[in-house]
């Protein structure tokens, strides 16, 4: 899969969680990329690999902060 398609896929997953009412609780980054922990009643962790999706997450964090 191209980087572009992979990033689109990752961004879609982020949107899916947010659309289902999840909020980002924790974010951390390491050698393997970015890990985003969402929570609603349950918790899920999403690993983000691509640069474009890591930029996108920052936009979503900003939006959540402003809510």
């Amino acid at each position: 899969m191209s980087d572009h398609l992979l990033s689109m896929d990752e961004m879609k997953k982020v949107d899916d969680y947010l659309d289902r009412g999840f909020k980002v609780r924790y974010v951390y980054e390491n050698l393997s990329g970015m890990f985003v922990e969402f929570e609603r009643q349950e918790e899920v962790c999403l690993q983000i690999l691509t640069a474009e999706a890591r930029k996108y997450i920052a936009e979503k964090l900003q939006e959540q902060t402003l809510l």
Binding site: Y26, K55, A58, L61
Partner: protein
Amino acid sequence: MADLRIDLAGIKSPNPFWLASAPPTNSGYQVQRAFEAGWGGAVWKTLGEPILNVSSRFAAVSFNGQRVAGFNNIELITDRPLEVNLQEIIETKKKFPNHAIIASLMVEPQQEKWHEIVKKVEAVGVDGLELNFGCPHGMAERGMGAASGQVPELVEKQTHWVKEVARTPVIVKLTPNITDITMTAEAAVRGGADAVSMINTINSLAGVDLDSWNTVPHVGGKGSHGGYCGPAVKPIALNMVAECARNTFVNVPISGIGGISNWQDAAEFMLMGATGVQVCTAAMHHGFSIVEDMIDGLNNYLDEKGIASVMDLVGQSVQRYSNWGDLDLNYKVVAEINNDVCINCNKCHIACEDTSHQCIDLYTESGRPMLKVREQDCVGCNLCSIVCPVDGAISMVERKSTIAPMTWNERQSLISSFAR
């Protein structure tokens, strides 16, 4: 006609083009020829205790047919007695009272030696002094030049000693052979410098002769590192000027030096904070008359921009130069290929495929080979447009981002608020 006069820390000159302290300003004969040609000022070849030079002295690096892309020299400061130089400065100043003559000075780092030379040189009516803390070769082995200029404490102390007796503006010339030039620039300011100039030459070895295995140049079979200058060093010099210009502690005028070869280079240095520029290699390559094109070109540029005085250029681009962490991560450009102009050399495709992000596709349309950028995969690196030999065949065009601007620093701050 725009006003090309500059005032650099009180040193006035009819235009911003000065000859740098170097072989072109070795004598009154040369400086007078330069002023007749149109140069606005000259920094006299460094005065100090007369040295002995070697033969041979210069070397140049050619690249793909361009001669003197870079220039290397192992010549030292003046080899003539101080009194001979001073007499010629008097004669030159008498003939050209409105041109700037700045004396470059270098002595051992001792207070009395600086006091002695400053008093003697100022007595003949120079318009300013430039302290040579930059020459990397020869003199540095004796504790002068770059050896002094690499130690902020020595820069500050020697500048202070000069300022104790100087009555004319003092420019401190800095060496680029240091990790962070703002450290020594700040030291010069703390010492009382009225201005700083940069860059002096960069430690270099021009080459090795593959037949004789001698260095280039060599002195009877032995070589020694020299100072590198010329067009190749311009980006390094421009960055150092810009870094000093945006440093709030370096709050003195800057004289820009380093690979300046035409009016465009000069304008770039001035936009990045230089009040004037100094030129050496281009004059050594093409002669003093190049200043005519520099003056005409700068004049036309200012007229086209509607700028009345060249001083209004100074520093206009400095605020656009910042830390990487303050750049917008979401700004986006992509390559766009104009197949009507493209000659199908495929250099862009090869460069992108081999060394960048594999986003330029080859295809055929009505039997004609074509190239197309897959925008979604293009990261806007510019490489294709850089290697393209045809003007207008590849443009980098802005694409509106779907997400708001955010810098790395802003992003890190935001993410830290989501840390566990």
